[in-house]
Point group: D2
């Protein structure tokens, strides 16, 4: 079950073409990622700011499907997935929520963007890959999926 994050498109998110500036879509995804971490009890300041064990983004990809406008109600579905003992990726599906219908109210979710980020866990002192922490594994379990323990072990062996 993915983590669901709701937000409103702010004026600052837009550009002079009247829609959300393309790179801000990725920033919105990161905002949703942060909310999912906080919802698992992770302290954001300790997690992101000069930690001993850092998990920087090594790759990102986005498909822009429809424009988003100032004031739009958004829902972002965040689905993390472990790839290796030291790696995970996060999938983001971004929707605009529209209320239509007059007599019978209808809620419609229109997909505006889909994105992925890949994260690698690194010991910032030794500059080597490091296993994901217990906190991160709990977050993966809560909103997405971890690798079977065996395959994680095998990876270390191979």
């Amino acid at each position: 079950m993915p983590f669901v994050y709701s937000r409103t498109v702010r004026f600052q998110d837009t550009d002079a073409a009247g829609v959300v500036y393309f790179a801000n879509i990725l920033a919105m995804c990161h905002e949703a990622y942060e909310a999912s971490l906080a919802a698992s009890g992770i302290n954001l300041n300790a997690f992101f700011c000069y930690p001993r064990i850092a998990i920087p983004i090594t790759h990102a990809t986005v498909d822009f499907l429809r424009p988003a406008f100032c004031g739009d109600q958004q829902k972002i579905y965040v689905t993390p997935k472990q790839l290796k003992a030291s790696e995970f990726e996060v999938e983001y599906e971004m929707f605009t929520v529209e209320n239509s219908g007059q007599d019978i109210p209808e809620i419609q979710e229109i997909c505006t963007a889909r994105a992925f980020t890949k994260h690698v866990c690194i010991d910032s002192v030794s500059r080597t890959r490091s296993e994901l922490s217990v906190d991160v594994m709990r977050w993966l379990t809560a909103w997405g999926q971890t690798l079977p323990p065996l395959s994680a072990d095998l990876e270390t062996l191979l």
Copy 2:
């Protein structure tokens, strides 16, 4: 009674000094201003994006009292006040909300910034000052204060 807006400091808000980048404090205030307008039933896209009657900010001032950090819970109090038939200012008081106390939980609000923005209503076609709309007057009444009708009339006379 001011409008109260709650938000979390995002990683994107911060800079390499480890705290919120100074100009982002003003962007957070605008975010709270937008939320207060939406709470009064104003459509944000119509209000901000290429309207016939625009209300641009002509002046802003901020006092930075304490740093804010990634993950901080913030409360922003938004108090608008009409200055002329065509003008208003908005006061913003920004607090970090801290939960302290162990047995008896305590909530503490620490003021991190105070800001003002001044807005002038302009007809974008004739490029002249224009009276504030009924919508904006209702917003002023809801969260702050309007001028007494008489003084607004007098201003037009004088």
Copy 3:
């Protein structure tokens, strides 16, 4: 021959991990793209802001290779390439320029990121694909490559 854009990493580009915020890498690429358009004589305001023929980004991908720091001298190589009569992609290679060596000065370029954006030309009134304009074709020729005319014709036929 790609377009080469030089810039300095600004404090605002960074986050509380002490390096450039990941989504800002894409914004820097767009900044270089804008500079390449302006260098071909394209008016940026007319090009980007509510044009009849718009060329929105439909896809973006980035590899983050090394962190970039406040004050870093950057070079971004911009290489556009036509994909269809109505489509192009842009490749960005971002380097940090370091001056090392004492007696004999040495300049070293270290690759920090590589990105791609894909752009589709659309008539904003009819909402259909539109051929790239003469201006854009001239820009493609200057810094990258266009399709052979034949294949563009064929594409229309097929």
Copy 4:
């Protein structure tokens, strides 16, 4: 003699009203401030990122005089002025540079904004005010003005 910084308004600087987003004016001023520091030989990463002696902004004020548009050529005049042994302010005057005239080219500078930032020098360990460093005094001398030595001494006495 103030420091003069030239830049182009980028698409990212704008919002859906078609002009530069108000808080970005302050970010542009900071960009010019950084360039003035670098021009005096100050290392930006050491200066801004987790230094022992930090000089945070405690107050900012801006007057927005005219809108600025994507692609505009800007000139920002940066004039620093020492206020106390531990304090300085910076004045920013922002202009759009327009080329008009056909036979005889004419360059016109139109003032779009004026801003001030106030900075206080603090020892980040003892959390007390600290005198401005030799580097900062040299920067003040280069582009603006320092206090007469006597008055700085007096300030300490009083």
